[in-house]
Symmetry: C2
Subunit: 281 residues, 2 copies
């Protein structure tokens, strides 16, 4: 296979087509495309293609991209509707059928035909899904930053750590993505001066998870908020971090350094460490 240098290669348009939001198509498609970093790609989402007319419009856009680029578009599809998928397959584009590629082998493995159904049939599951997520998001917002420490017994996990160590976005991600109820409690200087765990946390030790961060990074983040303050000084950041890590170790609270870790990764590791089960997909 001979390599084409970026200068020679035409621009391509990549479409992500779906009956639904298309987020799965975009996520997997993007993971694949990062393996071809030198390609000049224009990425276009085509969500909610769930009618003949929406499909007509989608095919028109693909034909137009082909004229503009002088090369056929690459289309990542999670279309569930077989008729829609067939129309795509019969068009003049390169189709990556993300569901279809695996349905046949699964049918054989399970000895059962798949129930190819459109969004409608998932209405009840969607409703439950929505409710679980709402509950979890509201819980995270109500129990953000130690705002209230009541109902901690309802928490699946209580995140703790110094101010600006990444607790809030992690809690929200856990709620949004997994339906996990996560509270967060900031460790303050007062807490560090006292002996033992903060009172609010003591009864819930088994559900505590700590976040830590490199003092340099903390100093940088705090500086954006309150420049030239004691709060954002390196010495303050360093001592808070050191003492908080000591507290975590002393009370055997599992903790993670968030300095160069994405929220997805923090959340995933936390789920694993705390043996939490996701409540939604």
């Amino acid at each position: 296979m001979s390599e084409i240098t970026p200068a020679e290669a035409p621009r391509r348009t990549v479409f992500f087509i779906s009956d639904g939001t298309g987020i799965t198509a975009e996520t997997l498609g993007h993971a694949l495309l990062t393996q071809f970093a030198t390609q000049k790609l224009r990425q276009v989402p085509l969500p909610f293609v769930n009618s003949e007319s929406a499909m007509d419009a989608a095919l028109d856009r693909m034909a137009q991209a082909m004229r503009e680029d002088g090369a056929r578009p690459v289309v990542f599809s999670t279309l569930v509707d077989q008729k829609m998928q067939a129309r795509l397959d019969n068009s003049n584009v390169m189709v990556m059928d993300l569901l279809g590629a695996f349905l046949k082998p699964l049918e054989l493995e399970f000895g059962q035909k798949s129930t190819l159904a459109l969004g409608r049939s998932h209405a009840i599951a969607d409703r439950q899904h929505y409710h679980i997520r709402m509950e979890a998001v509201n819980y995270a917002l109500q129990h953000d930053d130690g705002a209230t420490v009541r109902h901690y017994q309802e928490a699946d996990v209580i995140l703790t750590g110094v101010s600006r160590s990444g607790k809030t976005p992690t809690c929200l991600y856990l709620a949004m993505q997994f339906g996990i109820k996560a509270a967060n409690y900031p460790i303050t200087e007062e807490d560090l001066e006292a002996t033992g765990l903060p009172n609010a946390l003591r009864p819930h030790q088994s559900r505590l998870f700590g976040l830590t961060i490199e003092p340099e990074q903390l100093c940088h983040i705090r500086g954006e908020r309150r420049p030239n303050s004691r709060y954002s000084s390196f010495s303050q950041c360093q001592s808070e971090v050191e003492e908080t890590e000591r507290l975590f170790r002393k009370h055997r609270i599992p903790f993670l350094d968030t300095t160069s870790v994405s929220i997805e990764e923090i959340s995933s590791k936390l789920m694993q460490t705390m043996a939490l089960e996701r409540q939604l997909y």
Copy 2:
């Protein structure tokens, strides 16, 4: 193909294995498995399998599941490392190689080999990713519920609608998933009594997006918060919703009924309507 009834079918274990968080494997795997609703499945995530020893442990768990179930496990994989994937392929499980299945056709299409690289190589992208998301999440939190209306010029979109119509979770989802800066402004009775758009919104009309909800549903949601109050009474909910929708129409603000729509779907439709481009994948 003969159907096996659930009673005869053995339980199966499904694994989602990945070098990273495994969220893509879980999402696509789950979409496929919903097509086989009657199967008795146990689902096990195996994230961060990025070392020989982690792979040893993963293969052990698969072998154990096989003994327990009396049937081979089904494994959805997004392993990037070819050696790891080969170990999986050579084991006695059913492998659904979500990346591998599409890499060859893409290599042919692009006339270029894929740069199969482990997480490390994405460090810089991850860092930018993290920063964009943090900024967007912080923006959403600071501009939640009309808390502050300064910096509205920085918003990619400003959501508006009656209290409890789904604005906050939608803003957070937009920030988390797409890196979109979304503020939200609640329409109050005071706003409805005044003429025209609320002052805070007037300069930003082109970036407004409305959420509405069926009065019955709103009444139910508000009732959980403040039962037997004027706030949660049906007549109050109904008049607020009607007048808010009238306001949307009068000022040509695009809006969406959130009553039986998931946050993913609201967000996706909003992105489409407002022609917003996602800032992260």
